[in-house]
Symmetry: C2
Subunit: 323 residues, 2 copies
Amino acid sequence: MIDIRDIEATAKRLEGTAVRTPLLRNHALDAAAGGTVLVKPECLQVTGSFKIRGAYNFLSQLTPEEAQRGVVAFSSGNHAQGVAAAGAMLGVHTAIVMPEDAPRAKLENTRRLGGEVITYDRYTGDREAIARDLANERGAVVVPSYDHDYIIAGQGTVGLEIARQCQELGVSPDHVLVCCGGGGLVSGSAVALKHHFPDAKVHSVEPEEFDDTARSLRSGKHEHVADSARSICDALQAHTPGKLTFDIMKRLLSEGLTVSDDEVRGAMRFAFQNLKLVVEPGGAAALAALLAHKLDTAGKTTVVVVSGGNVDKELYAEIQRSG
Amino acid sequence: MIDIRDIEATAKRLEGTAVRTPLLRNHALDAAAGGTVLVKPECLQVTGSFKIRGAYNFLSQLTPEEAQRGVVAFSSGNHAQGVAAAGAMLGVHTAIVMPEDAPRAKLENTRRLGGEVITYDRYTGDREAIARDLANERGAVVVPSYDHDYIIAGQGTVGLEIARQCQELGVSPDHVLVCCGGGGLVSGSAVALKHHFPDAKVHSVEPEEFDDTARSLRSGKHEHVADSARSICDALQAHTPGKLTFDIMKRLLSEGLTVSDDEVRGAMRFAFQNLKLVVEPGGAAALAALLAHKLDTAGKTTVVVVSGGNVDKELYAEIQRSG
């Protein structure tokens, strides 16, 4: 299991690659929470989401032989862009299996970054099998989306930055809200955050129908979501927590929270109107939990990770219009 | 004429009021410029634009008697919100004369912040006369939009932050692009920037039909724009440079640049797609100049100020759709 030293070493490895995103404050957000809110806008990250952190960390540790054979990944889009960008930086060929209905922005950006894109049907295809077959055929390494120490440590640099930025500001976070698909971001971040702020409560936030982590945290074992589960959050559609990520989450996380698609839409509108940030549905989940008062934030200091901003303009306009 | 000490003192006065916005980098932007680009996103500022800086600096230096009688301002919206927010922080009544066709977001936010809003017709009314009459009636001080040392020093803290952030990053800016209405932001920022980086070229950026500063810089005297001038940039519709601001601009600015409304729209789309920032038309002017290659930025370090993000969702959606 990774510890703070792994994340610190990873942060050094990422210098000059992933940017240190700021920690933002906003009056309207403080007013909505009745306390102090700090926003970590990973939508401002290279490739528009935090995923470059884990992807670069993984690809930079391939052996020369592995690097030469290239890598394969499967992703709804943000991991895809992260892997493609890291591959471009390191000169590694990247092939990425993506759902054919992934946001166009994510498909196009992945290709623009030099990724070879292979599409499949999200509801009938088995992306893991497609990626595995492709990797076997080429002798290529598969870049996991979340369940690998290098990926978890990479995403955990978000939590390390938050901890350091809170120290610089002289504040102690009471709660940290982090969106959760497979759990790479929230588990890695929790390792760094709980090291520096043992009393901070770290919460996963998931779409209502993809509440596998919330239920798994309650039962203490891997729970699964139904195949019929749907959400506007294309980036948060994992069906059960990862093995490694859940081992960390069980140990370090507080209650798992869930949000409805309407709450997510409301958070995207709030981010447009007040934060002036373009946020994608999955990226808005933690903000949605705060704005929908899933936690008591009155008089407290709450950190919210806004994890990505890769959303198609048509969907964005529709969501802004519907408010 | 203000100097670096005035801006440094102002920066101290603004601590805890205006936030220090970050300096962002983005791969797509570097690629578009063929060099290094640093974005100063004042759309992330309290009230969604830099205007709180000058407004707070001005209101915080009222005498107790003046503070009690309240203030009057005229503004297309960003100065209005800045004055209203500063008034709310300092317990000063604020009355603001705004065009009736100002963006709804700006009108609503000004009211929400506690400002008393008086509307007029942008093309037939004389906002200065309306504000002056109101101020006389109430014995209230008028808060100038740009042509006052306190306002210029306040907006100049943007330039001071850029200079310090460039020093922290170990880079020297070759060019700094700043949007320009009456010139408060670009003149104040130039004072700070030229103090720390004498070789940096600071450029004003205006809408094509509101090119009074560009022409005035060329001729060396106050030039005016026609009453028929129109632009999508509601925040940049000054008809001639301010007296104080022009004295500074004449001394410190390099060539004035202009951008078309279409170039502004393109910059707003670029900011959505790549920077994940919500930018209003006037706030996108400097970015538009960069993207439209109004300057040779190849191999250079260019700082672009994105000055505001207060745009109505309908206009925003229309502009995103049109690309």
